[in-house]
Symmetry: C2
Subunit: 357 residues, 2 copies
Amino acid sequence: MPSSLKNDRLLRALLRQPVDATPIWIMRQAGRYLPEYRKLRELAGDFMTLCKTPDLACQVTLQPVERFPLDAAILFSDILTIPDAMGLGLSIIESKGPMFEYPVRSAQQIKKLGIPDPETDLRYVMDAVRLIRKELDGRVPLIGFSGSPWTLATYMVEGQSSKNFSVIKELLYDQPQVLHELLEKLAQSVALYLNAQIAAGAQTVMIFDTWGGVLTQPAYQEFSLTYMQKIVGQLQREMNGQRIPVILFSKGIGDMVIKIAETGCDAIGLDWMQDIAQVRSKVGDKVALQGNLDPAVLYASPEVIKKEVGKILESYGKGSGHVFNLGHGIHPEIDPEHVAVLVDAVHEFSKPYHRES
Amino acid sequence: MPSSLKNDRLLRALLRQPVDATPIWIMRQAGRYLPEYRKLRELAGDFMTLCKTPDLACQVTLQPVERFPLDAAILFSDILTIPDAMGLGLSIIESKGPMFEYPVRSAQQIKKLGIPDPETDLRYVMDAVRLIRKELDGRVPLIGFSGSPWTLATYMVEGQSSKNFSVIKELLYDQPQVLHELLEKLAQSVALYLNAQIAAGAQTVMIFDTWGGVLTQPAYQEFSLTYMQKIVGQLQREMNGQRIPVILFSKGIGDMVIKIAETGCDAIGLDWMQDIAQVRSKVGDKVALQGNLDPAVLYASPEVIKKEVGKILESYGKGSGHVFNLGHGIHPEIDPEHVAVLVDAVHEFSKPYHRES
């Protein structure tokens, strides 16, 4: 393990190597529930300015790591930076979510899309990664990430968050080849983007497939999983002698989660509807598992939070290969004190599961 | 089978008795995608007036049956009539969904809630059922329905549609006994309500658990499934010598669907993320299955609709026990011509699966 890392629990757990305690990080750990985030966000004026200014992105990334004994930092950025770099004109309005000024819907529009060059078109992300690595100074590893091709495509085609996904699904059912062209371009772009993050210093990478669960099972495999698998196959898996673990996360996909273990990834993210014990028994020692506390547990009292942490640790059982996390991003109304309780409980309660016996 | 019914395919399929073709009805078949519905809705002024005026509810219920050769009518009503009758003040605004003027959140508020008497407090529903039965005159059976206790509780506690279910989940994790009291009252109310619909003429009943899928697996069993099972145990299962089949539908619950087969219900509704062949192989001959076409398929061309119908029929395979439906309600933008294609395709393509060989 990286001798330069003071805390390498995350990387060890992702590679199913022994650890002293289960590592924890939290999806959206740098975010609106933190008063120090809200302050910076107000200063920046809008969300994309935070993302596009490496110094601000770095400050935001470090905030939760400075407040809590988390086992990882995750790059502060948005999942939609790639379509933005393709020229679709991203804006993020707090009450409405992401919006694209120029959605793409026709074969012609898709043909015209270029593959962004990470070090020029997404330079601000790479600069942020380099700066964060420097500022982290080996305290914890840095996680890089991207949206999955399918999830990026939903926003690019719909133009915004969707309830029914009617536009992209009409494309999927009526002109699957056109959608495949878009997904192919996105898979190439994501692979380049994640490799550039790895070259810039990301020590593990995660692909977020937020909307994989709105597809039928065959469509999930054809339009989402296949492209994540392609990306996994193209990623730089070693850097400076260190293995770079890859985490895939599709939300709301039920049974299909087992298929992810066959993509060649190192770990699978689990939402809170998954039974972590059952998934472990099915995927065996193939991959590590990350998750899967219901984010709503953090609304409850410290006693309840501790009890629910205990249940998940017990459900996963003995041995390495578990990265504790929520099953989805932390909600903006959560009390940071409750996060402190969560992080401590994971470290404290997990120790017995890692003792050799 | 009821000698008075000209088309008893639905009831036969729900009881896994032989049929000549797979029956089909469509969730929200009486709804905004129909121009004749939009006309009546405009005349009525608002949605709840349509529900609360038996003559209008009857007209709306019959509209899709008159337009398409569907195998069932479903009572036009709302899933939230029970909490409305409890005094929570329901209003339905098209852009926002349902809203309650007086949400319930405390043990005290829950204690005060009464169990509505169906024939007085929900008389308009029973009058609509009687009128629809008369007007249907045995053409097809009439389906009655209710929301599930858990799903009703989400709206009653949150006060409206929710993204994160933060208020009810805080209750669930922090004060589970208070939530159980509410669910207990709702289960009693739903059982009375459905029995009254059956007495008034509903020939089968369905419980919609739209939000079961936002729960962890243990919480789904404790807070949703248990109460649906209680209701099933209290329902009038025979009327005038006819068996009254009960259908349970929880959306987005993955693996948990298998547990529904153990409640004593006759049929399980499947969303489009379920693999109908796999579910059939797991539940065997215990229950019938209803579903599970992706509602978005109806955006596609007639050729694609036919192909996707063929896939589901083939996936279910030979024999009775399948009621064709969408995996969720039909979207308002769907072209009624596409619905005609769907209904005909199901009847035509399913015949070979029901021939004795």
